[in-house]
Structure formats: C-alpha cells, structure tokens
C-alpha cells in the first residue's frame, strides 16, 4: 500500500531554483569561530522561510532543553544529561554552531560516562554559546528580510 497523498509536502511542481536565494556576502560579518552562517545558509538551501521556521522552533525548544539538562545534572541523572544534551547537540549541528555543539557533545559524553565533573561549568558555557548563536541567527534573518 502506497502512502496517501494528503501528507505530500509539495503537491505542485516547483521551478528548479524555487526558494533559493543568492548568497549574501554580508553574512561573512556574522561568521565567528562558533558559528558559520554561510554553511547554515547552504544547509537550509538558501531558503529564508525555512531558516525562520527553524529559528522559531529552536527558540521555543532550547530553553526547556537547557532546563532539562540543568535538572538532570542537579539530580545526577546521567541518562537524562546524555539524552537532552544529545538533542540540543543535534539542533546546534544543523545551525552550524560548532562550539555550542561541541559543548553539548561534552555534556552528552559526561552523561554517557556517568561523570558529571565540570558539567555545570560546561552547561554555563553552552548557555553562553546558544545566546550568542540566537543573536546571530536573528540578525541573519532580519538582515535577509530587509534585503528581500
């Protein structure tokens, strides 16, 4: 049995470069050791609408995830530290936030190894990296919006 058509994301044929916008060199100003806006722009296939949706979703998601990691560290729940860090890491990787993703990965490893020494410090570092990332992401969206 083949799937029903009702969940087909795109029912109509689209032009070959539909949704793709040219590379904006002003993104280069946002590039840091922590964040590569050019790589993100390519990853979302230069689709501003998609990027905006992702940023909104992450904005809604990350505070709760950080809170979950914090609670897990406090409760010394290794499995939860590993699980929630892993989840944040996934999103951060998609946003090309390399340092933030690395911090989340270290927390994940701590949970996996059941050794939470320095975990709070690492969580703090992660919070800072995500805060910086969110600023950069919002700038990126606004900048692109003003151009469009």
């Amino acid at each position: 049995m083949k799937p029903e058509k009702d969940y087909v994301p795109s029912a109509t044929r689209q032009p070959l470069f539909c949704g793709m916008e040219p590379y904006d060199s002003s993104f280069d100003n946002l590039k840091t050791e922590s964040f590569d806006p050019g790589a993100l722009w390519e990853r979302v296939n230069r689709d501003l609408e998609l990027l905006r949706e992702l940023v909104e979703l992450f904005s809604d998601q990350y505070p709760a995830l950080l809170k979950n990691v914090e609670t897990a560290i406090q409760q010394r729940s290794f499995a939860d530290v590993q699980k929630f860090s892993h989840k944040i890491k996934g999103s951060l990787l998609q946003f090309s936030a390399t340092r933030a993703a690395a911090a989340a990965a270290r927390l994940e490893t701590m949970g996996k190894n059941q050794s939470l020494e320095g975990a709070e410090q690492m969580l703090s570092e992660l919070r800072e990296e995500i805060a910086g990332l969110m600023q950069a992401l919002h700038l990126m969206i606004q900048k692109k919006k003003s151009i469009v």
């Binding site: 049995m1 799937p3 969940y7 070959l16 979302v44 689709d47 998601q61 892993h86 996934g90 951060l92």
Partner: protein
C-alpha cells in the same frame, strides 16, 4: 554553476517519486529535513513521525521506499532503534541520520543493513536527496540480488542433476545434494575433497584433458565411494568466477543401459522382420515345389515316380517346419492357446535348438511317452525353449551339455508347486551356474549379466509360463550348472496325433464352382490352377488385385470363391477383398499368405480362421479347405 545545473537536471530526469518516512523526534531536525526534501525535488513525498511506536505501526500498513531514521528517540535509542525498524521494514532502504559521530555505530548499522549513515550538520539538501536516492537504488539492487540468489540457491538445492563448484586443483568448494547422492557421500564429506577422487581411473586422464577447455560437455565414469561405477554426462564451465569452476553432472547409467536395450531390441526386431520376410519368400518357393510335386504325385502312373514325389513332398515338409520356426523367432505368430503335446513341440524345434546351441554344445532331448496335454500357445512355448537354450549356451562358453527333458509330474503340494498334474519341462545345462542373489533377479525385465544381453529373455519366459498358468523354478549353484523347471498344468490326457503322423492320402475334392485365383507368383498360380482344374473347378486366374477386379467385373457368372494372396503389387489383397465384398457379397474368400496370421490382421482384413491358409500348403489341404468353405456356404 553549469555543473551544478547539469547535476540537478540529471537528478530530475532520473527521478522517480519516492515515499520517504522520516522518524525524528527533534522538531528542528524534522522541520529542516522535511524542508530540504520539499525544496529541490518534488519527486519525494515525506511523512514524519516522532516515535518508534508510531513508525512501526505505520510501517505495518504502508510501504515506504526510504526511511530516514534518527536513532535516539523518545521511546528508543541507539542501535536498538535501528534493529526494530529494519525488522519492521526489511525491504525498505534505511538511511540513518544521527547527531553522534559514532564510527562504530555507523559501521554496525551499515553492516546490518542500513544503506547510509549521515551525521546531522554534515549534509545539505543536495547531499540528502542524493543519499536518499542512492539508498533506494542500492536497496533495490540488493533486493534484486537477494531474489536472484534465492532463486539460484533453490535451483541449486533442488536440481536433480549434481552441481559442483570447484576451486584450484579440482577441490570441491560447494556441492548440492544430488551431487552428493551421485558420489555416494554426504555433502560435508565432499567439500574440501579433490573431485578426482571420484573419477574412475580409466577416464581420469581424458577428463583432465577435456577440462582444460574453458567450457564443454563430456561423458566419463564416476567411481562412487562404495566402488560402484556410474556413467555421467558432464557440462563444465571454468572460471565462472576467478578460480571457481562449475560442473554439472547427470547420471546417465540407466539411460545408457536403456538405450543399449532399445538398440538391441530394435536389432532383434529387424532380424525378426528379416526372418519373416525370408520365410515368406521361401514359403512361396516351397509352395511352387510342393504344388508341382503333388501334381506329379497325382498323375504318377508308376510307383517309382510316386515314391520320388513323396520324397520331394517329405523334404518340403521339413523345409516348411524350418520356415515356421523362423516365423516363430520373428514373433510373427498370433497367440492362440490350444491343446498341445509338448513332445510334438520339442520335436518341431529340435533342429532349431541344435542350431542355437552351436557346435560346442551337446544337446540331449528326451520326452516321456504318454504325456498329458497342456493348453498354451505353441509359438510361445517354442519361444520359451529358444530363450532357455540361448541362456544355457551363454552359460557354457566352453561347451557342455544341454539336456531338455519332458515328463509327467504329480505335485502333492510339498514343494512350491500347487497340488495337481503337470507336464514338467526341464532345461538343464552344465554351465557356470548362479549364486542365490543372482537367481533372485534373473526374471526381472532388463536385468542382464551379459555384455550384449537385453535382459528380456528370461523375463519373457517367466511371462509366458505364468500366462499359461504354469510355474517356473530355477535350481542352480555357482559352478554346478543350472536347471530351469517349467510346470504346465495338464488339461487333458488324450493323445494328439501330429500332422506328420497323418498319412498323405489322396482324397477326392472335386467341384464344379468358379474360383478366382489371385497370386503374383506365376508358377504357384499355374500349379494351383492346374490342380483346381483337375478337380473340376473353373478357374479365373489373375496376377494381382487390379487384374482380379477387372476379371471379376467382366465375368457375368457367379464366383463361388476368391483365393487370394495378401501382399501383392498394385491393388493388394485387402483392396481386392473389399471390392469383391461390395460387388459380390456371396463370394467366399480364402486368403493364402507366406506370412503368418498376424500379417493378415495387420493388413486390416477381418477373416474367420477357417478362411486363412498359410503357405506352403499341400493341394490336399487346399482342396479340403475349399470344399469346407463352399459346402458350408451351401448349407
């Protein structure tokens, strides 16, 4: 840019609408992936679920082409997630999407059936779409390969022919069950062994030589584990893979044996036909000699002339007996059981038995006086004696004694023979004899120990004896000769007087009717016509069926009897008889033929037995037969 466009265009050209199931519990990741899949290619339809339970439920109802799987979900994590999905959708391509760059996990999932393993943050839309498409294509290829492998494996396992894959030096790498059965070992025993171990020494060199060719077909003898030899038809193909050779073996031992038997029986059939043909022609010649000898005898005024004619007729009787035996050998006689005195049967075949036995064999025949009568077909019993004689001869390659004895026998039921009176025919030789195992198989059709035997001789004997309600017993020991005892139940005790014992009498068979005589043998036709005219008949003579029809149509009077040969040029006997039965329904028919009765039947002529006379016949018998027919008609 140009390259990028070309790539995308190619992707679109090759695109097939694929149904993708995304199993991802992270909303950001899920949105990104579904967004990426939507954008460059509308040839993907993506459905998203967050939990493993949802996914497995959905997979029960829907067939997807590709599954994008995050390993860490709310209700499952790590390799376990993969294991449960592949078991729910074994035929679907699975692409693992993970945020953990775990090489070990990646290798494990790919080894266990995942088509690819992508780390989040390391792929863009183009890479993802391409990975999905490649994953689908690889899975399709894998499935096709698996299907093909399953089919080939089934053929391999179920083939009635032995199939072997060998490696360097003829070492068996794989063999199917049929091959193992052929070699007389288990498959496990075969694998790892050199195949030359099973090739008979006599044909090994030839086999090695032939196998130097890249492919081909050959026949050779296998030597089974127990030492038994089997003839095999072998098809081989070297290097179907590097240093892997295919060998297909078919056991043709029985086929070869049957072919040989068929050739032998065809040869015997041809010999029989030849013998029948010779007998026919010879009978015609005898008929002419007999006819004129009788005419001489009838017209003889001096006793010396009459005596000479008697000698000629006596010699003709002996010659006629020989042709009759030839016809029996050619199996051209119709089976008709009748009361028989075995002493007469034996006397009839005596000369043939001596011939069959050959110079090295001394034949001794003895028949008790006052034998009971049995009911059997004479031709068949003659066949029994011939077959047993041939068997005895083959058992005595250096010569010996063959004793044929006939006597009355009363069974009290002590032995295997049921109580009652029998005529016992025993055929005893002083040959090599047989062990009990061999004795137990000798009556099996096609069983033979002779190089050129057809295995039918003794089975025919057995068939005839049982068909005649008799019993056959074999008594033999290696080196002590063999005795076949045939017990035929006695059905009457009245003595039969053989035709030879009847004195040749001159009986007056005069008549006045018109007879149409048709025979392509001029001399026989003239002699017969002269005899019939002497008897007072009016004789219309024809050389063949066509001429006979013309004479019949032109003749206005009644034709009381048609005497006709069967096998003739132009219109044959059947055509003539059919014509006469239409035009002259009252005309009697008497068929004369140098062939036996079955030839008449084969020509499709229905006759009562009284209307057939086999050549050579005496005019006395002919005259008697004619009167019987015509007088019956009058009555």
């Amino acid at each position: 840019m140009k390259e990028e466009i070309t790539s995308l265009v190619m992707d679109r050209q090759q695109a097939k609408l694929l149904d993708v199931l995304l199993i991802e519990d992270n909303p950001v990741d899920a949105r990104l992936v579904s967004g990426l899949l939507r954008s460059p290619s509308e040839s993907l339809r993506c459905r998203h679920v967050s939990l493993l339970a949802e996914a497995t439920q959905l997979l029960k109802a829907v067939q997807f082409d590709v599954i994008l799987l995050d390993l860490n979900l709310e209700d499952s994590s790590g390799y376990d997630t993969f294991a449960r999905i592949i078991s729910a959708a074994p035929k679907t391509a699975i692409l693992v999407l993970s945020s953990s760059d775990d090489e070990e996990l990646a290798v494990r999932t790919v080894r266990e059936g995942a088509q690819d393993y992508l780390v989040k943050g390391s792929f863009d839309a183009r890479l993802l779409v391409r990975s999905i498409r490649y994953a689908f294509e690889r899975k399709q290829s894998e499935e096709a390969l698996r299907h093909s492998e399953t089919t080939v494996r089934a053929i391999f396992e179920n083939s009635l022919d032995g199939i072997i894959i060998s490696g360097v030096g003829g070492i068996c790498i794989e063999a199917n069950s049929a091959a193992a059965v052929l070699m007389g070992v288990s498959r496990e025993e075969m694998i790892g062994c050199s195949l030359f171990r099973y090739v008979d020494e006599e044909t090994e060199a030839d086999w090695r030589e032939r196998c130097k060719m890249p492919s081909g077909r050959t026949r050779f003898w296998l030597r089974r584990e127990g030492g038994e030899k089997r003839l095999v038809d072998c098809g081989y193909n070297t290097n179907i893979l590097p240093e892997r050779h295919l060998i297909v073996l078919r056991d043709i031992t029985e086929q070869q044996s049957l072919e040989e038997q068929l050739r032998q029986s065809q040869k015997m059939e041809a010999v029989g036909r030849l013998a029948g043909g010779v007998a026919h022609d010879f009978n015609n010649i005898l008929g002419i000699i007999s006819g004129y000898a009788e005419l001489v005898q009838l017209s003889a005024t001096e006793s010396s002339q009459k005596q000479r004619a008697d000698k000629i007729l006596g010699a003709i009787d002996k010659a006629a007996l020989l042709t009759k035996q030839l016809l029996a050998f050619g199996r051209r006689q119709v089976i008709s059981p009748k009361l028989l005195d075995l002493a007469i049967v034996i006397a009839d075949v005596s000369s043939m038995v001596h011939c069959l036995g050959g110079a090295e064999i001394q034949v001794v025949m003895h028949a008790q006086e006052g034998l009971g009568l049995v009911k059997a077909d004479q031709g068949q019993l003659e066949q029994v004696i011939f077959n047993l004689t041939a068997n005895a001869r083959d058992a005595m390659p250096d010569g010996g004694v063959l004793a044929i004895k006939i006597e009355n026998y009363m069974s009290r039921g002590v032995s295997d023979i049921p109580p009652g009176e029998y005529v016992l025919l025993s055929v005893k030789d002083t040959g090599i004899g047989m062990d009990p195992e061999l004795q137990s198989r000798i009556f099996e059709p096609f069983f033979t120990t002779k190089k050129n035997g057809n295995g039918l001789g003794l089975s025919t004997v057995y068939g005839i004896v049982t068909q005649s309600s008799g019993h056959i017993v074999v008594d033999s020991e290696p080196g002590a000769g063999t005795t076949f005892k045939i017990y035929l139940p006695v059905v009457a005790k009245t003595t039969i007087r053989g035709p030879k014992s009847e004195a040749r009498r001159r009986i007056d068979f005069e008549g006045h009717e018109t007879i149409l005589l048709v025979d392509d043998e001029d001399d026989l036709r003239h002699a017969t016509a002269e005899y019939l005219e002497n008897c007072g008949y009016k004789v219309l003579k024809a050389r063949n069926g066509k001429e006979a029809i013309e004479i019949s149509d032109a003749f206005s009077g009644a034709i009381a009897l048609l005497i006709s040969d069967i096998v003739m040029p132009k219109v044959n006997g059947r055509g003539l008889i059919d014509h006469l039965r239409k035009k002259r329904p009252d005309t009697n028919v008497l068929v004369i033929s140098g062939y036996a009765d079955d030839a008449v039947i084969r020509h499709g002529i229905y006759l009562e037995t009284t209307c057939f006379l086999q050549k050579p016949f005496t005019f006395q018998v002919l005259g008697q037969k004619i009167r019987k027919l015509l007088d019956r008609h009058v009555q």
